[in-house]
């Protein structure tokens, strides 16, 4: 029986190739969108679920009137939680430190981006595999470091036999020696906890481990619940804990409290470092519903085309019924057909999605991989079959309904019966498409609005680009003049290095800098010298604390003046005002003319370094420098294009890589930019699918008409014109769809 059905189905497909192709292609496009979006949703929902005890791990944060919710917690919290809260079995601290300079010899330091201080319990809570080394011992002693294979390769050029090896860590003015205590697997992409190296917590300077201070907030604290149910009692137990450790006056709410949230929810919570389309529930819903919309439109196509072909299938129904087929048998035959179509579409859609995945990743800023995970594929297969059943359900009921007696009288009125349905569905389909377009536009507007509000935009659209080579640096004044000529560029500054990204440090003994230094220490002080220009201060909106900035009118500023930051002044033992006018020697002699506030812009590094700003280059200096450009807020894309083409003049083959100074701005700008494209893309796909269906309907109607009129021999020319004619009918429906959609959206 099944064989017979499949035969009929396949031969039917073969005989009505264009019908089948339209159906399958439309479905496949819809499925491809769905598969890609499911990959994305699946990845987002799977964050941190790979830990064996993920359902028992909670993230603890501090909430205060002053700062709202934050992840930083007091150091003693972890121990207090274990001791005082029955719901907590274990707790562990993790501290973030910025990038590290590490090396296997004492030179050629390599920058390692993501280092964390972790405690011995780290591996008991989290299921990261320690590939080499002992999980308990590795983190017990100070100055132990655990490397990921990639970090190990970076530092040693290999990842084997490293246990016990020394690693040198250049830490501002000193070089510290660390010992390799283990190799840990790389954190999966769907882990909120990311690291390149792990340092034993005791390596952290003692001050940062102030066991007694409940007023300082720094480490992140994770807790392990005794059971999943224990989560319910957490908030009460935290209240108790706050009462025990903070002085809370009677009848007053405490200034701060602790809160917890399941680790599995961290990624999609407001506390995650989300960027782009990850870590944001709103996008999950947005794209999820887009996928359903598109699939809905594809299903409507199926229903429309299948019922339109009633007159073709109705004879078969009559004959089969006459020969003794039950209606249920016919229903399952037709459902089988639509499931076959949906499964073929799933396979083709799968192939399309594999091909499209790199572009999808680019567009979404994700790093999704096609799941080799069989259960995910089977899941999707099941969903595809269900979609087949859903799409085929009405056509199956409709087609199997015909009584053989009336069908076989040869007087069956062709196709009239369900045409109202098809017309309605076309209207619904286009209404859906238009709602999709409009709501996407609304979301887009909304996002834009919140971004503008968040960032205040003023002065924040500064983009930083590394100059391509030293020629660009040497001729920087010309480059600046050229760039200033464009209307989309407001201001230009070129500096040797970016704050937070200083690439050169020079150490001087205090007495060599100035005789008036007020510090007892004789240790060298490390400075980050930075060659700046007149525009730098204004461009980054840095305030002067004392004195003045460089002036174009004073020639001495050009080669005998320094501006330092507060940190540098402090290091030299001066109050900002004291520093002004002091003669100093940072390789060249000069006078301090001003002190600027401590600034950090690109990096949230905890420590601010002493910085000297100067207009001239120190001797034996080499740099390529950074270009900072303030763009007109409304011409950002244009501005970026101009910078790109100007820099290509110097080095045509170098990729153009820019960064907005404000990281958040950068991420959001990129997101907004991408969202625009994604919206357009999905809308186009939705419309293509809807139009495919429309084309199928009109072509079918045309074919039937030509058959009836009996002009099949002149098909070529006629069918085109008749399609156009019939499309006009459908276009009216499309228009109606638009009109209906506008108020709904």
């Amino acid at each position: 029986m099944l064989k017979n059905y499949i035969k009929t189905t396949l031969r039917n497909f073969k005989r009505h190739k264009s019908y089948t192709a339209i159906n399958i292609f439309g479905f496949a496009l819809g499925m491809a969108c769905c598969i890609l979006i499911s990959l994305y949703v699946n990845e987002e929902l799977s964050f941190d679920t790979f830990h064996e005890m993920s359902d028992r791990i909670v993230v603890v944060g501090t909430e205060g009137d002053m700062w709202g919710k934050m992840r930083a917690t007091p150091y003693p919290l972890a121990d207090a939680m274990v001791e005082e809260m029955p719901a907590i079995e274990k707790a562990t601290r993790v501290s973030i430190t910025g990038d590290l300079l590490l090396s296997d010899t004492e030179q050629n330091f390599v920058k390692i981006d993501n280092a964390k201080y972790v405690e011995p319990d780290f591996f008991e809570l989290f299921s990261f595999d320690l590939l080499q080394g002992h999980p308990q011992e590795a983190l017990k002693t100070p100055n132990n470091i655990i490397l990921t294979p990639s970090a190990a390769k970076n530092i040693f050029g290999r990842s084997d036999d490293l246990i016990g090896q020394r690693i040198y860590w250049q830490r501002s003015d000193t070089v510290k020696v660390l010992q390799v205590a283990g190799i840990v697997e790389e954190a999966p992409a769907n882990s909120t906890m990311q690291y390149d190296v792990l340092l034993s917590y005791k390596t952290r300077p003692a001050a940062a481990r102030d066991i007694s201070s409940w007023r300082g907030f720094s480490p992140h604290t994770y807790g392990l619940l005794t059971s999943t149910e224990a989560a319910n009692s957490l908030s009460d137990q935290f209240d108790e804990l706050v009462k025990a450790h903070y002085e809370v006056s009677e009848g007053k709410e405490p200034d701060q409290s602790f809160f917890s949230l399941p680790l599995e929810e961290l990624h999609l919570s407001e506390l995650s470092n989300n960027s782009g389309f990850t870590g944001n529930r709103a996008y999950l819903y947005l794209f999820g519903s887009v996928a359903l919309f598109i699939l809905g439109i594809a299903c409507v196509n199926y229903v429309n085309l299948a019922t339109a072909r009633t007159s073709i299938r109705v004879k078969e129904v009559g004959v089969r019924k006459t020969l003794g087929a039950f209606r249920t048998q016919l229903i399952s035959q037709f459902l089988g057909e639509s499931v076959l179509i949906s499964i073929s579409s799933y396979v083709i859609g799968g192939i399309i999605s594999i091909l499209a995945l790199p572009y999808f990743n680019q567009l979404f800023g994700t790093e999704l991989h096609w799941q080799t995970d069989i259960s995910f594929l089977l899941w999707l297969l099941l969903v595809a079959s269900i979609i087949g059943v859903l799409a085929g359900f009405y056509p199956a009921l409709y087609l199997s309904r015909f009584a053989p007696a009336s069908v076989l009288r040869n007087k069956f009125k062709k196709g009239s019966s369900a045409s109202w349905l098809r017309k309605t569905l076309v209207v619904i389909q286009f209404t859906l498409a238009v709602i999709l377009i409009i709501s996407a536009l609304v979301v887009y507007q909304q996002l834009r609005y919140t971004q503008e509000k968040d960032l205040g935009f003023d002065g924040e659209q500064v983009v930083s680009v590394r100059l391509p080579n030293s020629t660009a640096w040497d001729t920087r004044e010309n480059l600046k003049d050229r760039l200033r000529g464009y209307s989309s560029i407001q201001e230009v500054s070129i500096v040797s290095s970016m704050p937070g990204g200083f690439n050169l440090r020079l150490g001087y003994k205090p007495e060599t800098i100035s005789s008036q230094v007020k510090t007892d220490s004789n240790e060298p002080i490390i400075f980050a010298p930075t060659v700046v220009d007149y525009e730098f201060l204004k461009m980054l909106d840095i305030d002067m604390v004392a004195g003045r900035y460089f002036s174009k009118d004073l020639s001495a500023d050009r080669n005998q003046a320094y501006v330092i930051n507060e940190k540098a002044a402090t290091a030299l033992g001066w109050m900002p005002d004291d520093a002004i006018g002091k003669n100093v020697n940072f390789r060249e002699e000069g006078k301090i003319i001003g002190v600027v506030e401590n600034f950090h812009i690109t990096s949230l590094k905890e420590e601010i370094e002493p910085v000297t700003l100067q207009l001239f280059e120190p001797t034996s200096w080499s740099t390529v420098g950074n270009l900072l450009v303030q763009l007109s807020p409304d011409k950002i894309t244009n501005g970026l294009e101009i910078i790109e083409s100007e820099l290509k003049e110097y080095a045509p083959s170098q990729p153009f890589d820019y960064e907005f100074l404000d990281k958040k701005f950068k991420a959001m700008y990129k997101t907004e930019f991408r969202l625009g494209r994604i919206v357009v893309l999905f809308t186009i796909i939705a419309i293509i699918i809807a139009c495919l269906g429309l084309y199928g309907l009109s072509a079918f109607a045309a074919e039937r008409r030509t058959q009836e009129i009996g002009i099949r021999k002149v098909l070529g020319a006629r069918i085109g014109s008749i399609v156009a004619l019939l499309s006009k009918d459908f276009l009216k429906l499309v228009l109606l769809g638009f009109i209906l959609a506008v108020p709904v959206a």
């Binding site: 029986m1 017979n4 035969k7 009929t8 031969r11 039917n12 005989r15 004879k315 078969e316 009559g318 004959v319 089969r320 019924k321 006459t322 020969l323 003794g324 087929a325 039950f326 209606r327 048998q329 009584a403 053989p404 007696a405 076989l408 009288r409 040869n410």
Partner: protein, 229 residues
């Protein structure tokens, strides 16, 4: 085999009522060859559909194989139909997507017969109509006469006791028509009951029992050598 009493069929479409059959009393016994004649629109096909359990009468009773069927559900009728009744239509009504063999095999499929048995029976039925060399052809590749022979194979393949034929020669030239009539007569000789609608007095000549309809009523009935009105 067939016994009807006061059969009525009224079609209601767009508030217009058409009385297609108006009180048919009919008895056809096993092994008979019966022809139904009458002008277009007099209700021949309607009667045949009811006799073939494709449709229910609006009024009256119908005993098929001594079993009251006039009030049976679609499913019940389908169950009775398969294996008992074979159909032959003017327009052949073969399924275009299936080959000759697959078309003939179809009633056996719906009877739930195992594959080897199906193959044997279908091939025997096709062979009987001299169509075995065309077993893998599709209906469009055959002439009208050949298609009708396939349709007859399909009607007999399940050893139906009753074959209902609605103008089986209507779409054929006289040579092919004769051929089909001879096949039906042969089947009748072998014991199959045949009820056939026809416009052609020549074809009606094969029957021993002729019924004349007019406006949904039997106006003349002739059995063997006798008449009655």
């Amino acid at each position: 085999m067939i016994k009807t009493n006061n059969l009525k069929k009224v079609y209601t479409t767009d508030e217009v009522e058409t009385t297609a059959l108006n009180g048919i009393d009919l008895e056809i016994s096993e092994g008979e060859f019966c022809a139904i004649m009458g002008p277009s629109g007099c209700g021949k096909s309607t009667l045949l559909n009811i006799l073939g359990l494709l449709d229910n009468p609006t009024e009256g009773t119908y005993q098929f194989l001594d079993y009251e069927v006039s009030d049976k559900s679609e499913r019940e009728r389908a169950r009775l139909r398969k294996g008992n009744i074979g159909f032959v239509f003017q327009s052949f009504n073969l399924i275009d997507e299936l080959t000759v063999f697959e078309n003939v095999e179809l009633p056996l499929l719906y009877l739930g017969m195992p594959e080897d048995e199906r193959k044997e029976k279908a091939e025997a039925a096709i062979d009987r109509m001299n169509m075995i060399h065309r077993r893998n052809h599709f209906p469009q590749q055959l002439s009208g006469g050949q298609q009708q022979r396939v349709a007859i194979s399909r009607a007999v393949v399940a050893n139906a006791k009753l074959i209902l034929a609605d103008e089986p020669t209507g779409n054929l030239d006289s040579d092919h028509g004769d051929e089909v009539m001879k096949l039906l007569a042969e089947l009748n000789d072998q014991g199959t009951t045949i009820v056939m609608v026809t416009h052609s007095p020549h074809d009606a000549g094969y029957a021993e029992h002729t019924i004349n309809l007019f406006d949904g009523q039997i106006v003349q009935e002739e059995v063997e050598d006798g008449f009655h009105v």
